[in-house]
């Protein structure tokens, strides 16, 4: 069980984290989701021990680890740019954590070699142990980084935008692969991302952060269907905004019915096919606010210049202060 209590962190006059509280159950796969500057990476690094908080506590199973150096916290960390040791082979990279153990804890050389091979097999890089990182592709390097982190049998796995530096296709493949690996190993994991699609796909629970504060914590379903604040509503999934009587109304593009009369008038600007729906881009006639609507492709395609009338099926109302009305 990992807990974070009232963590604050400032960099000079810039406040990166404002009193963060969070509990993580054993075996959970948590995503810290937010835009740049939201503090998510800072929080991750504080948990790891790569940064130190100004106030607050980090608890591993109830023990305050704030005084522990990173080397003693027993966490596996995967960096965005892999941080592989370029002068060592892949196998030597993976074995590093075992090689630097104190003499009495260090396994025999043969045992270390076997473990390294086992891990390379786990990440599907068998036979590449003799290569150098410079000779591998981005996706392969990230898998080496993961194997290296797992070698020390950490109790907590931390990943800092692990797929940020990769091509879209490789990213997708690795995402799925990581999800399967987590199912297989059951290791408590926290990963940082700004890609909400990634967070929704991978995580058991998502922590949405903005400007150093937690906006909402919940399952991907909860976050998507019941955003707690306008920020979450905007950041996660696509959102349309509309003026309501006492605040703003947010609704998703697909949560909309087309009606003959009543509802809101929308002037259609552009229509294109998106999978099984028509994506209709237009503007609310009354306020000229931009809207995106997904209509079943079985229905007739709306034409640019046409006016259609819509009624949101589900929506959330946020009062001017940003709370739910």
């Amino acid at each position: 069980m990992i807990s974070v209590r009232n963590i604050t962190k400032r960099f000079g006059s810039y406040a990166a984290l404002h009193g963060i509280d969070l509990d993580i159950e054993p075996g959970e796969f948590i995503a810290l989701l937010g835009p740049s500057g939201s503090g998510k990476t800072t929080l991750l690094r504080i948990i790891a021990g790569l940064e130190f908080q100004d106030s607050g506590q980090v608890l591993f199973d109830g023990n305050d680890v704030s005084g522990l150096k990173v080397a003693d916290r027993h966490v596996g960390f995967v960096f965005q740019q892999y941080a592989l040791f370029r002068h060592m082979t892949v196998a030597e990279n993976v074995a590093f954590g075992l090689q630097v153990k104190k003499r009495r804890d260090r396994p025999a050389r043969a045992a270390i070699r076997d473990r390294a091979e086992e891990l390379l097999r786990l990440v599907q890089l068998e036979g590449l142990g003799g290569r150098y990182p410079g000779q591998l592709s981005g996706g392969q390097r990230q898998r080496v980084a993961l194997a290296r982190a797992l070698a020390i049998e950490p109790e907590l796995l931390l990943l800092d935008e692990p797929f940020g530096a990769l091509d879209a296709k490789v990213r997708k493949d690795l995402r799925r692969w990581l999800r399967d690996l987590h199912k297989q190993m059951g290791l408590t994991s926290i990963f940082v991302t700004h890609d909400q699609e990634e967070a929704l796909e991978l995580a058991d629970r998502v922590v949405v952060m903005d400007h150093g504060k937690i906006e909402q914590v919940g399952t991907p379903e909860e976050i998507y269907m019941n955003p707690a604040t306008p920020f979450v509503s905007h950041f996660v999934g696509e959102t349309n905004r509309m003026a309501g009587q006492s605040g703003e109304v947010h609704f998703r593009p697909h949560d909309v019915d087309v009606v003959g009369e009543g509802g809101e008038a929308v002037l259609v600007d552009n229509v294109f096919r998106k999978g099984g729906v028509w994506r209709v881009e237009g503007a609310l006639v009354e306020t000229s606010l931009f809207v995106e609507i997904d209509l079943d492709a079985a229905l007739p395609q709306p034409r640019p210049g046409e006016t259609i009338r819509i009624v949101p099926r589900r929506s959330r109302l946020f009062n001017p202060e940003g709370g739910q009305a």
Partner: protein, 278 residues
């Protein structure tokens, strides 16, 4: 615990900084200070006298002439070479770059030797020169040649990495807009490389004025005629005229300081790569 996870503790840092500064001061700063201290050991008067003797003035004049000839020659070469190397693809490019670096790895004395072998009295072309009453060795042309050889790589070495990094995009854009080759070079390339060029010129000049070993071999040490400032320093020193020697030396040291300051300013203001190409 305000430390970063991956830095040494404050005490270690301070000790290391102290050690580094101490060694630098001992090995590098002290000699520099000694030059000025010895030059002014007997006061400003003797200092001024020493740099105004006819021989000293002749040496200064010769040094300036040498620099005025060799630096522009190597600038033209440097620009031509880096243009050819960085804007085009051809086989043998890295060989060419290695060859350009050759004078760097040759001992200064050997640099002088090779010209003696070519143009000296018993050299390959020696007899022919004597027959035509042309003096190269033990005369100014020889000194110019040796200096050009020694300072050959300086400008090219600064420009090549710089222009490689800048690529060809700007030039290709200019050409596609209708500029001629010369216009492109003058209005696009030159402004892009001007600070690197200045930097290379500074280093080239400092070395041209300060070269000792190579020039010593080819000059013949004829006072008033083929003595550059460094050679003049040697002569004075060997005659135990220490104030005189250090006085002239301090002028050269001053030049070195100006070069260093200018280099620092250029690096700071225009973010040139520092030192990677030395």
């Amino acid at each position: 615990m305000k430390l970063r996870a991956t830095s040494e503790d404050r005490v270690t840092q301070i000790v290391l900084i102290g050690l580094a500064l101490a060694f630098l001061a001992f090995f590098l700063l002290l000699p520099l200070v000694a030059v000025f201290s010895e030059a002014l050991a007997q006061g400003v008067g003797p200092f001024m006298d020493a740099v105004h003797t006819p021989d000293a003035l002749a040496a200064i004049r010769l040094t300036l002439i040498i620099a005025a000839i060799s630096v522009p020659l190597n600038v033209v070469f440097g620009i031509a070479a880096s243009w050819a190397i960085t804007k085009f693809q051809f086989p043998g490019k890295s060989l060419l770059i290695t060859l350009i670096d050759l004078p760097f790895s040759v001992s200064p004395v050997v640099s002088g030797l090779i010209f003696v072998l070519l143009f000296g009295a018993n050299g390959l072309i020696g007899p022919w020169l004597a027959a035509h009453d042309l003096k190269i060795i033990f005369a100014v042309p020889g000194i110019v040649l040796a200096t050009v050889f020694i300072t050959f790589p300086f400008v090219a070495r600064e420009l090549i990495p710089l222009m490689m990094e800048q690529g060809k995009d700007d030039e290709e854009a200019a050409l596609s807009l209708g500029a001629s080759g010369w216009q492109t070079f003058w209005h696009v390339t030159l402004p892009n490389i001007r600070w690197g060029l200045l930097y290379g010129v500074l280093l080239c000049n400092a070395r041209a004025m300060g070269e000792f070993g190579a020039v010593s071999v080819v000059s013949g040490h004829i006072r008033g005629e083929t003595n550059t400032m460094p050679l003049h320093v040697e002569i004075l020193y060997n005659e135990y005229d220490f104030v005189g020697a250090f006085a002239v030396a301090s002028l050269l040291a001053l030049l070195a300081l100006v070069t260093l300051v200018a280099k620092s300013v250029l690096e700071w203001r225009f973010d040139l790569h520092s030192g990677a190409s030395h």
